[in-house]
Amino acid sequence: MRLLLLFLLLLAHLNAEEIKNLLKAYELASDFSNKTKQESAGNLIIYTRDDLERMQANTLKDLFKSLRFYHYIENRSGHPDILNQDPVMYSSMPVRIYLNDTELISATFGSGTIWFGDMELDFIDHAEIYQGFPSFDIGIEPAAVVIRLYSKSVEHDRGGRIRLAGTRKKGNAENAYYTESAGDFSYFLYAGRYDDLREQHPLEDQELSRDKKKQSIFASVKTENHRMELFGLSKESDEFLGWATVGAPEKAEGETDYYSASYHGTFLERALALNLSYAWASSRFEHRYAEPWLLFLLTTYKSMEQINDEATLTANLKYHWKSDTNSLITGLQFRRKSLELEKFTLDGIDRTPEAFFDDSLFFDRQDIYSLYLQEEYTPDENQMLTFSLMQQHYAINNDAYEKFSPLQLRAGYIYTADQWYAKTFLAHQEFPPELYMMMQSYLGNPELREMSSDAVTQEFAYDWERTSARLLLAFARNKDFPFLVGGTLQNSGDTVKSNSQSLELTFRMRGTDKIELQAFRVDQSSPKTGNAVLYHGGMVRMLNSIGDFDFFNEVVLRSGYPTDSMTYDYSAGLRYHATDDFSIDVKGENLFNKGLEWEYYYEDDYDMPHQLFIPTVDRRIWVGLEYLF
């Protein structure tokens, strides 16, 4: 980036387009990702405003599908589940999503990825993805992947935008935002709707559908040191195969309403930061099958209906001391998750805890207390040592059930030279089970232990004038890995190991044009069998502009996900800037329909197991219009 800026600055001295080049260099240097990214916080991937716009990244799915070591995957209910391991269980608890300083969270599932893994990005300025356990000012719940999304703001987007987009029979999206300021005060308002109509897949005499209809809002008001935000999502979805494995459902529908309010304030010349947030969600689903399935207690059922209300209150206070060689952060966080199982029926029979006097079916409160400390020591201009420690206490229903006191540790060493850097991180994390993993109403196990994870990552990066290279090596060892056995979650007795390597190259060409190459390999042992599972992946992405046209080309390769055959998802986009205020865009996703297909399992009427392979990204061509005012 720095070299690119210097190049653009150099151009500014040399040719007649001085002002234009200067403005472009200023635009790039002003990208908010330069101010929010924290290289010392972990192994970081940045999508700048320019990247997101030229990639036409309309949803988070567009970023997940090319993410090194991972892919975009949905579970059998059609919910985003990036770490999907099991045909039934939700697995993406360690993937955490933040909108500015507020986590988009599910009290039940821990991570909000289940609701927000495919959220729209139209009001997002830039995104940062931290792989591995990041530092505590990025997020304090233990995590394997942290996605930080930063909303647009008045500083760069004064005025408004309307966007309309659609595909032939397969969805449409409309959204608008407006932002303005008066003195020190500014506001940002966004509203959008998205009909995500997917390809249907025949099974038995039914059509499996993953359609979603979503409406979302975001509002932010801020002054220099204080910011308040509101975020809302209302979603109706067809839930594909549903939870049971007995073939096509006669009915599988769900609804989710999510609203959050948050406050972020800084005091004492920004040394003291306070974050308060309250998120409320209500989710409902109804799954009904022609064939009965065995759920638990050796009883079979044909239908399940649930309405679950939940709330998460989070208060985080942190203080930052700085000196020439030290940066010390200490913080406290309290989080309360509250659940209310409004309705839970099997074949229409009430199965709420009240009906069965069995509290282990459902917990209604979890309190998490966290105390953390993080030190960054810079002995000289080339080196940094970082150390983080967090002690937590998880209490369920006032310690009436299993309680956990996980210890999170992280240490790192960074060496920087003129053209290269090396980053080494060691992390020990303990993942207490999320509430749904312990509740019998979700196939959970109240006796489940916390999973511990030890990881080491080594990253090398080298910058030439027009090329940069990055090598990432990661090793992780997980003990007590949770997985489903016979309808109940159990801790694996084996140590689950993963060994990952990634090589990335970026070639910068004329102006801001660039080609990105990525190749990675993951060697992981299966929690069920202990056998090694090998994944390969790669990506080629080209972003370039000619005159008023922006071009985007991307090929995402995957092998071993979940079969050994190589898949490739080719996507391409074109945007024409008709005027400064009006643009037209076309984007094709998975154009050859050869992208990754995920494996789903079901049993037929004779209890014979079958597999279904369904594309994770549909083949679609979007046409969009954007008007700025």
Partner: protein, 135 residues
């Protein structure tokens, strides 16, 4: 700490770069509007890029300035209007006919705009490099 700051303390180096570039743009505009090689600035209102900026020559008195840069019209001394006045916000440029141009963010990108009529009223002729920014 210079090298490490680039990597570690988020964006400090590049944040400096964006201020340097913004300063260079303001200076280029000021030179074009005043025909002086090192024009003296009078800053009215809070303009983040020019706040405590030592790369420009500045004065606290309008009458000593070659150019006036404003982010608000509130409290602007009347004598400032005798100088070329340039805004950091588009809306202010639209509101007041004495303002010859603006450098502002809108739609996710920085923009420059000049009013041909207002430049003409002040007998200011800009170089050809600004031609596409004059309306």
């Amino acid at each position: 700490l210079k090298k490490l700051l680039l990597l570690v303390i988020a964006g400090i180096h590049l944040a400096a770069s964006d201020i340097e570039l913004a300063t260079k743009i303001y200076k280029t505009i000021a030179v074009a509007l005043t025909s002086r090689t090192t024009p003296v600035f009078y800053i009215h209102g809070d303009i983040r890029e020019l706040r405590d900026n030592r790369q420009i020559r500045r004065t606290d008195r309008c009458r000593e300035a070659d150019i006036v840069i404003i982010s608000t019209l509130n409290g602007l001394p009347a004598e400032c209007l005798e100088k070329p006045v340039f805004a950091s916000r588009y809306r202010i440029f639209r509101q007041h006919e004495e303002i010859v141009g603006a450098f502002f963010w809108q739609k996710g990108r920085p923009n420059i705009i000049f009013s041909a009529e207002r430049l003409q009223q002040r007998n200011i002729r800009l170089g050809s490099e600004f031609e596409s920014y004059i309306e």
